[in-house]
């Protein structure tokens, strides 16, 4: 376990050093993504300025929601950058490289790449959480702990969901379209108040498209402690993580090498 951690830390360090070779490009993407998210959030400022609240959710809840989702999404897709392109690695036979080395294949493949723009999402998430704290007028050490836990659960479910969907490539071949639609669906749903959706839709958001575990549930938990929500977050993260690892390795048995010569520099 310790050697795996040291290995992943070494990968992340290498990714960071690689990004720093193109410092201006990296910083442009980080700042650009923060601006991008901020402009999007203006919609909710305008919306709540006019309508005040929807089914019990107000602007402060949205700050918490964006805080958790952007931090979780940013950290997840920065640290495990290949989670968004796993299907193309599988389909094009690029898993050969990871299979030939004595390291956990999935972990190695996911952490081998970092997306610069995701660092912007992460920074924006922290700022949004800061704004949520200021506007809610409540802050203590426990809230910070809940925020860290909520973001970890968010990362676990998001990355697991992406791995699950793209693992289907082992069985059905090209899943680019499915991946694009699934990615759009989970990100979009996670950024809306869960109180908008009724029973059936809610069930969908806790199962087939687990956006509730990425956004609304951890965001509500961060705002106020609830033992049941804590259990749900931990269970959701654990179950999706287990499922994704199980399905990926089952699928890997069906993997066919591309026999392509690959050079990694």
């Amino acid at each position: 376990m310790g050697s795996h951690l040291a290995f992943v830390l070494a990968l992340w360090r290498t990714n960071l050093l690689s990004a720093m070779e193109y410092r201006v490009s990296f910083l442009t993407q980080v700042v650009g993504m923060m601006l991008n998210n901020a402009i999007y959030f203006v919609f909710w400022i305008i919306f709540f300025a006019r309508f005040e609240e929807i089914n019990g959710w107000d602007l402060v809840d949205m700050f918490f929601l964006f805080g958790v989702v952007a931090t979780g999404f940013g950290a997840g897709t920065y640290l495990f950058g290949n989670a968004v392109r796993l299907s193309s690695l599988i389909a094009s036979g690029q898993m050969d490289y990871y299979l030939s080395l004595p390291r956990p294949v999935l972990l190695h493949a996911l952490a081998s790449r970092s997306n610069a723009s995701s660092a912007g999402d992460f920074m924006y998430g922290l700022l949004s959480f800061g704004a949520a704290v200021i506007f809610s007028g409540t802050f203590n050490g426990l809230m910070l702990l809940r925020f860290a836990l909520g973001c970890l659960a968010s990362i676990a479910v998001l990355i697991s969901f992406l791995v699950l969907v793209q693992s289907l490539t082992f069985w059905i071949g090209n899943t680019n379209l499915l991946t694009t639609n699934a990615f759009n669906a989970i990100v979009t749903f996670s950024l809306y108040p869960i109180t908008l959706f009724d029973g059936t839709a809610k069930l969908l958001l806790f199962t087939l498209i687990p956006a509730a575990f990425i956004g609304a549930l951890p965001a509500e938990f961060v705002r106020r402690f609830d033992l049941l929500q804590l259990a749900q977050i931990c269970a959701g993260g654990g179950i999706f993580l287990f499922l994704s690892v199980f399905v990926f390795y089952r699928g890997l048995r069906r993997y066919e090498s591309g026999n392509a010569i690959q050079v990694r520099m």
Partner: protein, 284 residues
Amino acid sequence: MRTKEANVLYPEGRVRDPSAAAVAGKYWAIFRTQLLNSLAYPIDLLGRSLLIILFMWIFMNLWRVTYGATGARSIAGLTLADTMWYLMMAEAVMLSKRDLSETISEQVKDGSVAYLLNKPFNFILYHFAAGLGGSVLAFGGNLIIGTAVVWLMVGPPPGMTGWIFAGAAVALSWLLDFCFSALIGLSAFVVEETNAFRWIYQKFLLLLGGVLIPLDFFPAWLQTVSLNLPFAWIIYGPARLFVDPSLARLGRVFLQQGIWLAVVGGIVWFIYRRAAARLVINGG
């Protein structure tokens, strides 16, 4: 600089200008090729159109709850049905437009622009014709699926006039959007990283263009600002025409689209000519 497609050699070596029909025919062929290419992958086309169901479902939940909470039958002159049909048209335009900025930017950065510049067509018009070929079918798919979904949710769509007026305005919307895409793509001649510009432009369309919310719901000052920017005339103009078609509104949309096309298109043309003249190719 004389554009390459405008020059055709006579057998004896003199140069003559081809007819406008010949030039138009060339870009029509590019448009048609792209159209046929999109038709070759119907599942892909259908799959991409499914996204509109997701957005319409979320919007329906959001605005049904919002209208219910206010207790008003209409907000800023729009009923729930008007708002949903507006959003359907806005999303159909947004989801069908082809973002060519990334393609252009990559071609500038990896140098492949050099191979396109010496072809017998204009680099910018080539991309526009190809992009339009992809947009037309995607728009059709989004309209069919979007209409079916929203009809089930809130009842029948606006009358035929709305479809015709909005359809005419959408054509100019694509042209205006393409000018912005080209501007972002060509910025790769100057800056290393163009992604940030692309993201921010997309968000301006979502917010100030009126994809997420009709501009009528904005506070008065922000509405004035938005209507004086080009983004509103890419999305809001056609979508609002769809639910409230009138000749006066159509005239205003065309006028604004025309003005912004002249401004942004002029900037694109100027930058393209300067960039092409300064292009340095190393190796081959």
